[in-house]
Symmetry: C2
Subunit: 196 residues, 2 copies
């Protein structure tokens, strides 16, 4: 059975982007530091793949997923990844309201959480599903639809920003640490969601 795995870079104080982000602004002041591990020693121009070591392994694992679920905000901030997140796998973009225009490339808009997860798992076959984005993560966690969290914990206190776990009274969950692996300038923490 394939799994839904959340992959997110997070600061030590829980931020997933800097405080001045917005469309066209990228990751904001200090927010860039959250993703610095993605390009350390990069050998592939135009790619975020770190060249070597643990970080490259984690990146490769992400890129071996067979479908993507994300939220509309993350999707638009990323410019829709040009319609192709990786290898042409389908990208399911959660949105409250379907836009007039269809999503570009391999992306499609979906309004129902359960349906998005079912479609993504089906499309991914025996590969896992990559979940990315704060509000998508929170919605799926609350709905008990996330199997694992892989958090790239970046050694920085941002002080301000957008949180992965906001204050909207989300459901309590027990986790189980699967592995803690040190990469260059980042600690990759893999947790299994125990109570769903």
């Amino acid at each position: 059975m394939n799994k839904v795995v959340l992959y997110m870079s997070m600061s030590f104080d829980g931020m997933i982007s800097g405080h001045d982000d917005g469309p066209g602004r990228g990751l904001g002041v200090n927010g860039e530091a959250l993703h610095a591990w993605l390009s350390d020693g990069g050998i592939s121009p135009g790619s975020h793949r770190p060249g070597v070591g643990v970080n490259a392994e984690v990146f490769d694992e992400m890129m071996q997923t067979g479908a993507v679920i994300t939220g509309r905000r993350t999707f638009e901030l990323a410019g829709g990844w040009g319609g192709d997140h990786h290898d042409g796998v389908p990208v399911f973009v959660l949105t409250r309201q379907l836009p007039d225009q269809p999503a570009p490339g391999h992306a499609r808009y979906v309004t129902e959480l359960e349906s998005a997860v079912a479609q993504a798992k089906e499309a991914a076959g025996d590969r896992n599903v990559l979940l990315h984005g704060g509000s998508a993560a929170r919605a799926l966690l609350d709905a008990g639809l996330v199997d694992e969290l892989v958090i790239h914990l970046v050694p920085i206190i941002l002080g301000r920003g957008r949180r992965l776990f906001d204050d909207q009274g989300h459901r309590a969950r027990n986790l189980e640490l699967v592995s803690a692996t040190e990469g260059a300038d980042v600690l990759h923490l893999r947790y299994r969601v125990v109570s769903r």
Copy 2:
């Protein structure tokens, strides 16, 4: 030179206590889970010392500190630790306003951050200073007075509660991971504060 080291148990979503805490309420619903690692296999009745392994080592390290700095809220929630946090070392309790009554036992109230740190370091001699409590931690971090963070990261999402890092626009800090050590049901993360 001795160091000021913050020791705090924190949930994966950044909470240091449950949502219904308050004087007499202890750690609140689910908040108890944050400190479960302190008593696993406990061999010392009346003590929080875990009996064995990594958790016992971390606990012993905390108890080898030569002074304590905390905030008044934490101090009062803990009942002032009966006037003796451990081994009769001095406890410096940060407060905005000096109460009419002196602090009990080995504790004393202080209103100035820098003075509290200077007094605690002096009193601790060649031992480190244990810093504990959310608001004390934030105040000292903002003032550049913290040398290391030892966070006992508990594998639970609380969903609600009181954060270690709140949203009051604190200063950005670079950290450096010193060690990530797995104990029973907890991951001990030690960071050095790089930019102060």
